[in-house]
């Protein structure tokens, strides 16, 4: 599975929305279940599925999915989004 598909699957599972389509400018307030609890769930699952370490201060700087992807790509995740 390509990494952008893996990331999409993680979002869909946590946000409980099988129709969710990721795009770079997608923000938390545009997704119904993207609250602070699920934001942490996202980070936990991303760490487990991608085998990377997410810095909590990076978590705060993320304004949209694009910021998240850039952080993960800087760690070698090669997500094409």
């Amino acid at each position: 599975m390509a990494n952008h598909e893996k990331l999409t699957q993680i979002f869909r599972e946590i946000m409980e929305d099988e129709s969710l389509v990721l795009r770079r400018d997608l923000k938390a307030d545009q997704v119904e279940k993207w609250d602070s609890f699920n934001h942490m769930n996202l980070m936990i699952m991303i760490e487990e599925e991608f085998g990377v370490t997410v810095d909590p201060t990076d978590v705060d700087k993320m304004r949209n999915v694009g910021d998240l992807v850039d952080i993960l790509n800087a760690k070698g995740c090669e997500i094409a989004l």
């Binding site: 307030d29 609890f37 934001h39 942490m40 997410v54 201060t57």
Partner: protein
Amino acid sequence: MTSRVFTMQDQENFAILSGDSNPMHVDAIQARRYLFGRPVVHGIAGVLWGLDTAIRTEASFRLTSLSARFISPILVGDPVTLVIEKQEAGSLTLGLEVGGSVCTRIEVAWQSGPDAASIDLPNSPVLRPIMKEPAIAALEGVSGKLLLFLDMGLCRRLFPTLADLVFLPQLAQILATTRLVGMEVPGLNSIFNELKMRFSPPERDVDSVSYSVRKLYPKFGRVSLALDGPGVEGRIEASYRPAPHRQPTSTELREQVDAGRFAGQRALVVGGSRGLGEVTAKLLAAGGAWVLITYNQGAQDARRVLMDIDESGSAGHSRCRLDVGSPEESLPSAVTEFSPTHIYYFATPHIGGGRAGPFDKAKFERFCEIYAYGFHRLLTNLPMASPGPIHVLYPSSIYLDEPETGMQEYAAAKSAGETVCTYLMGARSDLKIHRHRLPRLSTDQTASLIARENQDPVSILLPILTRMAATDP
């Protein structure tokens, strides 16, 4: 739809029923220093109110499953609406909404069951639950057992339908979960995020529920717990919330301030019982100023600050209560007789944060009451007996220059306050107001579940105080 407001009396009753007397639920003074600024309704209290209200059956029943997501806090005093989102025979999905947003989502299923005629559980705990405050690192491999109890008289008053019809040991088990999170793990600085329980006919007497730490995520302050007991298994997700922020002591700050830097000042520090006001009061006292701290609710905190200053070797400072948001209250004599040469205005309501949304007029008014009206009232009503201009520090916010999601009402009110400063200085030659748009600084107000880069208050405030003192004649 059904609505209600949870009161502090409700909180006290539920704390007795559940054994969860975490101060975030029952102590308004302590709760103002926590993440949400006000007492929070127990998540499980909302769940049981929802079940008690929505489950419509005349026959005894036994729960088969219960899930609850505590999405955002329900605060004491806020109107809560129960919405039935989905209803089928023997199951419900409920939402508890505040201001149109779902705060708690509940999924429950049940089947007819034995009469809940009697329950062989103690009416109250054998030993009074004691609040614990374990560090997350110490939770590895931790497990324990909670003995169940159920005050039937109180239960009938609070949840009459459940008391009459549900299999009562299940009620005791559900109540034990809030006691587990709020008093044991994580304990004092906890947030209950999620609960999933599955019930089955118990094979033995239901007298306890066991728990074990299943997974820890220390970096994110997250704890995952497994539940296990007669007729129940489940999972709890909980988080650590930030503790009240500890500012440097006066003894620590004395090393950074020249002893006579602020000598000669009679410094009125409005809102000096914690946060930036606390830091300012300590810095000024360390530099030789004579300080009067005011507080609204934080009498104990103000006393703590003065004791800390006293312990550093600087005595003679004082405190008094002042509510700048209350126009009908006249200024206390301790303030009017103090004749300040300098006023440091750190009065603030709980700021919070939030999601993007329409401009909230009530929130804006609440901020303006302190940042604009309260500030204007204080400077207008305070007799200025000192010769020479009175120097005033008005702390504004970087959010006027750098918008932040959820802070528009706060920024707009600070902007109004800045305008009040301009007009006051234009009308009065006896005032010199120093406005500074401060960055995010480490205080209770900027505490967050997600780690933020906040600056050290001393590194920002000390140069400001020093420059103000340098403009003294």
